[in-house]
């Protein structure tokens, strides 16, 4: 056993301990388990929300994008800041309504607003279809990080099993309290590791940040800006906008908004979060530093750039610290995803078909569904296959389809009916699926339009289809009810 492995497992043990201990003194009903009894202050909510942003994707993917794509990577810090602006108004409105109606899941919100349990089932299924691939992504990342950081002495498969078992145990025991405590450990580590790497590596290899960028620019002119076509400025703008709309539509993010003790928590976070998101800048620096130091990583292997460069640079014990930080970036969001998916399935799907089930039974079922969801995700992680890859690509676009129905439900006079909301979501999801599977782009749909329009993120098309169908169906259903009311009066 090498030093790196020892450190990684040491941190895993600490997080397991923190996660289990978090339960102490709490009566774990469903409200405690999923939304922490709505008692979390600014720091815990901050950590949970940040925890969902600093995932293995940001750790590996952020540096991987910088390594292989360059300038377009900057969209990651752009959408975060704008999403926080939106959150200043969006989250307090969601939180207030959720508290009044004692909601515990994202689907509850739609069920309550549109007065339709079946809409809740639809929203849950869309949510779970997006969550499971997202969890698979975290697990794959976990496998990569731990096996690379342990110098291959532990296989990806073994690492994934160990990480999944740990997270399943503490989620079942402590629910969101466990996630909050491990998030604390994770953010301290990630902050330390990422800032250190992002400064040390450019100075060590290039003598500074600007010399590093100049060296990259000399080797690959224009790589650090957006290209003329493809990931061009219009791609950037449309992608950032879509991502901002989808940002809080992930069931686990939406649900963690319920955990706040008051609505001011969100407004405070909206000021701090943009600054905090700049930590990602240092992740990008690592990826840029790797371009000339560990060249030749092609395609998805670009995600290895951070780890490969670290292994080449540091002693095993420090590689272990990096590996441990990476491990935590997988298990904190992983725990939130597991809990959100299990809650959706128990409360918003099972309960609709078994209305006689008591709250205690639903709460128990949700906990027992945690290992089930974990096993399903493990299956997809190991089996791989094209289905899961397609779902991964769709994840963000899928949850974004929930945004229009949510937005209208927050208005004083909602013109959208439950049928309209459901039809819009189905139409949007179907469009996303078609677009992803057929690899359609705006350019392939409208090859005669200017390049700037061809480069628009194709998710915009799905969102437009969604809104149009939602409005049309709402109008028809509203007229129909109006006519029926009229006839009832006449009779």
């Amino acid at each position: 056993m090498n030093a790196a492995l020892l450190i990684i497992f040491g941190f895993l043990a600490i997080s397991l301990y923190l996660g289990i201990r978090a339960r102490k003194g709490k009566d774990m009903n469903l409200e405690q388990w999923t939304v922490g009894g709505r008692g979390f202050g600014t720091i815990f909510v901050f950590l949970l929300m940040a925890g969902e942003i600093y995932t293995t994707f940001t750790f590996l993917g952020g540096s991987g994008w910088a390594y292989s794509k360059g300038g377009p990577t900057f969209y990651i810090i752009a959408y975060g800041a704008l999403a926080y602006v939106l959150s200043y108004w969006l989250l307090p409105a969601i939180w207030r309504y959720a508290k009044e109606h004692k909601l515990v899941s994202q689907s509850d919100f739609f069920v309550s607003k549109y007065n339709s349990p079946y809409l809740g089932i639809l929203v849950s299924l869309v949510g779970v279809a997006a969550l499971i691939p997202y969890l698979v992504l975290q697990l794959q990342g976990l496998g990569i990080i731990v096996s690379e950081a342990s110098y291959g002495s532990i296989s990806r498969q073994a690492a994934i099993w160990i990480g999944t078992i740990a997270v399943t145990v503490y989620v079942m025991v402590s629910g969101i309290h466990g996630s909050a405590w491990t998030a604390m450990l994770k953010d301290i580590m990630i902050l330390f590791v990422v800032v250190f790497l992002g400064l040390y590596l450019p100075y060590h290899y290039y003598g500074g940040i600007q010399p590093m960028f100049e060296a990259v620019e000399a080797a690959k002119p224009g790589f650090l800006a957006l290209p003329e076509s493809g990931m061009s400025p219009s791609w950037f703008i449309s992608t950032v906008l879509l991502t901002v709309l989808g940002f809080y539509m992930w069931p686990h993010t939406f649900g963690s908004a319920y955990s706040a003790e008051n609505e001011r928590v969100f407004r405070k976070n909206a000021m701090i979060m943009p600054l905090y998101s700049l930590v990602l800048l240092f992740v990008f620096f690592v990826g840029f530093a790797a371009i000339l130091q560990v060249p030749g990583l092609k395609g998805a292997d670009g995600d290895l750039s951070l780890l490969r460069l670290s292994i080449q640079t540091f002693d095993p014990w420090f590689v272990g610290v990096i590996g441990a930080a990476g491990l935590l970036t997988a298990i904190v969001p992983g725990s939130m995803i597991l809990m959100a998916a299990a809650t959706l399935l128990a409360k918003n799907v099972y309960k609709v078909f078994a209305p006689q089930a008591s709250d205690t039974q639903i709460s128990k079922l949700a906990k027992y569904l945690v290992p089930v969801v974990a096993l399903i995700s493990l299956y997809f992680t190991f089996a791989g296959g094209s289905a899961i890859v397609a779902l991964l690509l769709m994840g963000y676009s899928l949850v974004t389809q929930l945004f229009p129905a949510l937005l209208f439900s927050l208005m004083k006079r909602n013109v959208v009916t439950k049928h309209g909301a459901a039809a819009g979501i189905v139409a949007g999801v179907a469009t996303v699926a078609y677009i992803t599977l057929s690899k359609t782009t705006v350019g392939s749909l409208f090859p005669f339009l200017p390049q700037a329009i061809q480069d628009l993120n194709v998710g915009i098309v799905a969102l437009i289809v969604n809104v149009v169908v939602m409005m049309a169906v709402s109008l028809v259903m509203r007229n129909r009810t109006a006519v029926r009311d009229k006839n009832a009066h006449a009779a």
Binding site: G71, F74, I77, A78, G80, A81, L82, Y84, V85, Y88, P92, G208, I209, Q210, F213, E214, E217, P221, G222, F223, L224, A225, L226, P233, S234, F236, I237, V240, L241, N262, E263, R264, R267, K268, A270, M271, I272, M273, P274, L275, S277, L278, L281, F284
Partner: protein, 66 residues
């Protein structure tokens, strides 16, 4: 439209609308390529703007009184 809503629009203008105008590697500012510098500057400004919004927003004062 209240002043705080207008303020909140600024980051969208800075980060989205201005992107085609600032899409360049040079000049370097604080060691960063210009496009990256521009975005980072706006992320910092977003924090500042949201702090001003927080101060101006009567909703936060009401809760203080409670």
């Amino acid at each position: 439209m209240k002043a705080i809503h207008l303020l909140a629009l600024l980051p969208f203008i800075g980060i989205l609308a201005c992107i085609p105008l600032v899409n360049s590697v040079t000049p370097y500012v604080f060691g960063l390529p210009f496009l990256l510098f521009w975005i980072v500057m706006w992320v910092v400004l977003t924090s500042v703007i949201m702090a001003v919004v927080y101060k101006l927003d009567p909703a936060n004062k009401e809760e203080d009184a409670q």
